[in-house]
């Protein structure tokens, strides 16, 4: 099943900010202390939807956006005020979904709608892409959280120290990027931040998910020597019409 934009973006932000308890991202000495003071991130705590923190006001979002160049203030946190140890509390948990076939939904619409009150529902279809049923309010809150995360990513990319740390941490957090050559990893991060900025402006995150999917497929090509060899062959033509196979 392809990742939804929100799930793909959740992975990405874990890559950028680190996961709580992730040894690669925990402070381990003076270098990390210095990086923290300059805007590096120590850890990220994930809170499920409906948990203690969900950024919803412009003030809260603005506070999060400033984390790259200022000590962080997280107005919605239960602790409130300035956070010790530059800990970032963020809402990126992707919710569990329940799956049904579309025909089941049509026969049992009442039950499925009751389920959708509490969790998102994916409706599988044989003759088309799957459908998605959920509360509009829940979707809106997730979109606004994604907006905060995207702004954060853009802010992080503006600071050279943070940008370098994130780029070097990509392989640890998104293992598939290890198949990309070094210059391609840098290009991945560069295009990612540019696309994130554009998505924030347009309030749509599908292009970002497509970009990540495209890079993942590109990494697969680099990871399979036979594939890479096939694409390195220069094709000079002439083009040949191909036949549509006869189906049984």
């Amino acid at each position: 099943m392809p990742k939804t934009p929100r799930a793909a973006f959740g992975d990405l932000m874990v890559a950028v900010l680190g996961r709580e308890g992730d040894p690669a991202r925990e402070p381990s000495g003076e270098a990390d202390e210095a990086a923290g003071a300059e805007g590096g991130f120590r850890s990220m705590r994930m809170i499920p939807p409906g948990g203690e923190f969900a950024p919803s006001t412009p003030t809260e979002m603005r506070d999060l956006v400033r984390v790259a160049d200022q000590p962080m203030v997280c107005a919605g946190s239960s602790r409130g005020g300035r956070l010790a140890e530059s800990e970032l509390v963020m809402y990126v948990c992707s919710m569990a979904v329940v799956e049904h076939t579309l025909s089941y939904m049509l026969r049992n619409s009442g039950d499925v709608i009751a389920e959708a009150e509490h969790q998102d529902v994916v409706l599988r279809r044989r003759d088309g892409a799957d459908l998605f049923l959920g509360l509009h309010s829940r979707e809106e809150s997730i979109r606004s959280a994604l907006g905060v995360l995207a702004r954060l990513l853009v802010a992080a990319s503006l600071d050279p120290v943070t940008r370098d740390r994130v780029a070097s941490a990509l392989v640890a957090s998104l293992p598939w990027t290890s198949f990309l050559p070094a210059e391609q990893q840098a290009e991945f991060f560069q295009t990612l931040t540019a696309k994130a900025a554009a998505c924030v402006e347009l309030d749509t995150f599908e292009p970002l998910a497509r970009l990540i999917d495209g890079w993942r497929s590109t990494a697969e090509v680099y990871g399979v020597p036979e594939l890479r060899t096939k694409l390195e062959v220069e094709r000079h033509g002439p083009p040949v019409p191909i036949r549509r196979p006869e189906t049984s």
Binding site: Q184, K230, P238, T247
Partner: protein, 135 residues
């Protein structure tokens, strides 16, 4: 043409023309089509209809090195279609209409250039253990 030789179905004017980048790729396609006719027919239909649709099967490759390729002097976007688990078609999208924004010019007295999907390479993937045993 031999009597029993299958003919290439002409593409409708609103469809994309499906071409192999060269004879070798066309032969690879034919070989794979004998093993997976239904999956490749579905791929053919999808590429003829909408080769630039993003889906779990269709993705555009990214990056300066892999995101584009040059064919007949034209730089084209490089896409992949996942036919089976592990089996892939790599193709260039050559759209002289620029996404329907302009009308391509005729070259001499010929017809207007068509929108083309150029199959650059096919990769059936590794056969499953059971398929290897069947030989």
């Amino acid at each position: 043409m031999a009597r029993d030789e299958p003919v290439v179905r002409p593409a409708r004017t609103d469809e994309w023309q499906i071409l192999a980048a060269d004879k070798g790729v066309a032969e690879d396609w034919d070989r794979w089509a004998k093993q997976e006719p239904n999956a490749l027919a579905a791929a053919y239909d999808q590429l003829a209809t909408d080769p630039t649709k993003f889906s779990s099967r269709q993705r555009k490759l990214e990056g300066r090195a892999m995101g584009t390729g040059v064919y007949e002097g034209t730089t084209c976007d490089r896409w992949q279609y996942e036919v089976t688990n592990g089996g892939r078609i790599f193709y260039f999208v050559d759209d002289p209409t620029d996404g329907g924004r302009r009308r391509p010019e005729r070259k001499g007295r010929g017809s207007r250039p068509r929108r083309r999907v150029i199959i650059e390479a096919v990769y059936p993937g590794h056969p499953k253990e059971t398929e290897r045993k069947r030989g």
